[in-house]
Symmetry: C2
Subunit: 201 residues, 2 copies
DNA sequence: CATGTTAGTTCATTCACCGAACCGTGATAC
DNA sequence: GTATCACGGTTCGGTGAATGAACTAACATG
């Protein structure tokens, strides 16, 4: 619980919302899920979050109906976590928070640009497409790297994938384009290899 | 800090946003400020938050530029906390989160309804007025109690004020309409008297 | 001068987060 | 077949933040 249980008389749904979304890491998990992150290891490498916390957050979000846990492989049992329709509706507040941050906290220019995938236009506030004038749902959005992303040293699979334009909700691929070596410096985590073998069969 | 300091390589402003807004209680403080709560005691009584935490959150929000601390009385030095323009821009994400919660988490119907004050229409997502079609800024919004608020037992000044329609950002009044007595049951906090004396001079 | 009000701070306890280590299951290497 | 590795967790001890109660400061009231 994000705010103690004594909420019997609390008067607005905002508090209830924060009970579901307000804990540390939770909104970042949701944002990653919107970008197509589905697997435990990808969340973990990209967010650099303790596994125990990630596990608890994923379970809580499944419990709350924001994520759905889905078996995608039985051999070693593996699940992935995907947004439910209820979770996808969080696009509005998530984008609004992101755009607020871009306006007021991004010193080096925007880091992520959100485009309407059908016409390519940049999204304006409220997820409104500058060309169509319509409000664009998450399914029609593409993230592109912005100028503020220049010096991004992260080497995890999600960060690498998002260095190119990426359709929201489209799964992060199993591997990247075979960067042969010279990547094992940094702080030990963030390895990219591995899934290639299983995926190749 | 909401998420540890190791954010050198973090890739989206969303994380930075959550460093400012993501801590426990912070968004509730902002939401209260949008409703016109300005004084330490009113925040404290309405949110039922430990004073130490409230003090820390208010200072952090002032530091971040979301709130402005403003002396309103010198006799005993007293400050009030009001939203800056940057803080007022948080209306869009705050409303979006509130509306998401109302849709998905409010079992007994909506608790708060947000109306465009000039034409009276209910606000749609993105703070768009159903009648005008324009996006409505916080300054033109009125909160009204919704059907889900039926059994609201809270007796603090803010809750009492919000039982009637209230213009957003309009300060919570110093006192209510003299409910003579019969209010000192409950759990000890939440007293309403007191400010009448000073205000009357 | 005793009491009350408001906005804090201080302090001890409790709780959540953290990182490291460990575990279970299956795949791969030898 | 056995050793090793990858993945997705769980367990556990240490740390830091949240909590609630008590205390303080500055003034007002009676």
């Amino acid at each position: 619980m994000a705010l103690g249980k004594n909420y019997d008389g609390q008067d607005c749904s905002f508090a209830k919302t924060l009970e579901v979304l307000g804990e540390r890491w939770t909104l970042l998990v949701i944002r990653d899920a919107m970008c197509g992150v589905r697997r435990f290891g990808d969340f973990q490498a990209h967010l650099d979050i303790p596994k125990a916390v990630l596990s608890q957050r994923l379970s809580a979000l499944v419990e709350a109906g924001v994520l759905e846990r889905r078996r995608y492989q039985d051999a070693p049992p593996r699940d992935e976590y995907v947004l439910t329709p209820m979770g996808r509706e969080l696009w509005v507040p998530v984008l609004a928070l992101a755009q607020w941050g871009e306006r007021h906290l991004a010193a080096n220019g925007h880091r992520r640009l959100y485009h309407h995938v059908t016409c390519g236009s940049l999204l304006e506030p409220y997820s409104i497409c500058g060309t169509c004038g319509r409000s664009v749902p998450l399914e029609e959005v593409e993230v592109r790297p912005g100028p503020g992303l220049r010096d991004d040293a992260r080497t995890d699979l999600v960060s690498l994938t998002l260095r190119s334009p990426h359709r929201m909700l489209a799964p992060i691929p199993d591997k990247m384009g075979e960067t042969p070596e010279g990547r094992s410096h940094e702080l030990g985590g963030n390895r990219v290899r591995g899934r290639a073998a299983r995926a190749a069969r």
